[in-house]
Amino acid sequence: MQSALDIAPLIILLPFLAFVALLTAGRWPKPWWHRSHWVAITAIVLALAGAVYVAVAVAGAAPGAAVAERSYPWAPLGGRMLTMGLRLDGLAAVMLLVVTIVATGVQIYSVGYMHGDPRYSRFFAYLSLFSSAMLGLVLANNLLQLYIFWELVGLSSYLLIGFWFEKPEAMRAAKKAFVVTRLGDLGFFLGLLLLYRLAHSLEFEAIFIHLRAIEHAAPAALTAVALLLFCGAIGKSAQFPLHVWLPDAMEGPTPVSALIHAATMVAAGVYLVGRMYPLFAAATEPWAPALFGVTLFRATPLQFVAAIGAITALLGATIGVLQNDIKRVLAYSTISQLGYMMIGLGVGGVFVGLFHLVTHAFFKALLFLGSGSVIHGTGTQDMMQMGGLRKKMPLTFWTFLIGTAALAGVPWLFSGFWSKEEILLGAYHASSWVFAAGVAGAFLTAFYMTRLVGLTFYGEPRDPHIHAHESPLNMTAPLMVLALLSLGWWKWAMPWLHHFIDPAGHELHPVPWVGFLGIGVALAGIVVGALVYIRPVWDPRRALIAAPVLGERLVPGTGGRLGQVPGLYTLVKNKYYFDELYWATIVKALFALSRRAFVFDQKVVDAVVNGAAWATVRLAEVQKLVDIHVVDGAVNGVGELTRQVGGGFRRLQTGLVQNYALFAFVGLAVVAGLYLYLGF
């Protein structure tokens, strides 16, 4: 294990060095520049080798010695020392393997996909930065370090979503993703601070040792910590109600969607909950928010996790049914599957959630890369313009089909089946309505995936202008490898993985009819989907443009009455109006406040320009107003304050450097004077 600890920092460092090296690629001679991907791929392959080494070392360690840690002192803080360190255990080793395998596949794929892009080397630089940050997140042995890398993956996600920043949608999507996830991260950070106060340490090991004492002394606070940490997971893993950023993130290049927004980064929230699982399990005090004296619900943090997961699973699956953009269907599918992982964590334990994370990482990366291959071949993302690609892109088709089968839960032969059965089993034992949501979601999943395959690969080509062609080998090779990893041999890996990830956990008690129900709904979803989109049992011409028609023509003979259930179709088609809701409430209110703030800015400005004494008086007024504003808009306080201060200072920007220096000195004098006056 010691040698593994020596290797582990390199796993983080190598991709980071590749990132630094590739930043300079713009200055390389042209022939080298086109081969800049070699730097990134070499680094990630070496990281993969390191991950394998670590996994072997962890697997081969004696029982009870399967956790290895190493910390370095970093910053003294009030008599204690913050540390930076590495933690190697089964969970970290599995995540390392998943991240490095998918990242390697995606980088090789990107060589073909991004060929000829003007910022080719920059793309690989960002991918390397992301890989480095994600691996650092996985290897962290304390919450603060995890948080730092957490934000770093957020940053690289922002950079990569906005990679084609010439497109205004990509710019907006990148900003939206960053801001929305920040909302969750705020909760994460508060939870981190509160936890530090309770446990006096942020190292996982130290926290877990103190859990019992904390639970005894402050049960409510522990629950608050768990819920706040879960806020971070809600943001990062695109759970309801912060799921709105993930579909928009599809504006980024498709390999990015596969790596970051399907397989790894969005799974970081699941990983966080899994990592802090002992804390979640220890927090048994239920949270019971009340409105006007009426208790809305009572839920322990784990129940809360499962409930959010169930809502998200159903929400994502229903919206996915009515999307026409191939990547957006997959995005909503990802949201839904992340919901499943949360259910698994909430009802079944670390292994159940993480097992689905692992299988999902491979088959969803496969599906995204496959959709990228389709987009590459056809030049469009709109499924309504595709059709009949089965013959033209055979490799893509077959690998995509394997991914679909895995996601839909086709029994025995495919990976997704095994992990989904575990989740349903756990839900069955825990809560009837979570179980019902899980089953309904499973049906919808099978249905929308069949719809996706039917619209894309079957039927006749619907747009005569599109001349599809199979993608080059460096794109299809990763597809085949990932397809191999989406097959059902995970069944045999399961007991071993279980021991590896969660040595203390126990097996779920199997219930035969739950298994059959799962198989039944999956097959039913596929059959219904096939009847509508692949072998239409009624007018095929209508079926081909079936998506908008779906509600109307689902059951032949009902004459389209089904779709005229008032509002339902429109509601789902518009994604339950979440974006509009957030726009009308939060975003608009923020803008209104900023506008008020702007008017108010101009008072500040005049004040500063005229004389010192006068400015002091004004400053006092400003302080008062700022206070009022902050108190008024406590909810929007942070954003508003920033805007006010920024706007006020903007007017001070005369552009004359001496004015700046003068302000700096006056400010320094004021601060130093205060310091003396207060007698520190």
Binding site: Q653, G655, Q658, F665
Partner: protein, 103 residues
């Protein structure tokens, strides 16, 4: 110890304030550079005086002063390079007429 420590401190304070005034009020960029050198000198006086009076058995203060001198040299070189660049582009170096920062 015939000279009280506070004499040095007062001298350094006044010198520093003169430097501040020059840096804030002079129009010529080179004059500002000179004022900055004055401020650095004031700091050095403080450091050496403290080293002599408070910790006479250690050399930390003097070492610091040496590094400040080194940085002052680097700063003067780079500062003058900047001034020359500005001069080449604008044909003057009156800082109160340069407001490129305000775009």
């Amino acid at each position: 110890m015939e000279i009280p420590l506070s004499w040095y401190l007062i001298l350094a304070a006044i010198l520093f304030a003169v430097g501040v005034y020059g840096a804030l009020a002079r129009r010529n960029a080179i004059a500002i550079l000179m004022s900055i050198e004055l401020m650095l000198n004031a700091v050095n006086i403080n450091l050496v005086a403290f080293a002599r009076y408070v910790t006479p058995r250690e050399l930390t203060g003097q070492i610091f002063a040496i590094f400040i001198m080194m940085l002052a040299a680097a700063e003067a070189a780079v500062g003058l390079g900047l001034v020359l660049t500005v001069y080449r582009n604008l044909r003057h170096i009156q800082v109160d007429e340069i407001n490129l920062l305000r775009s």
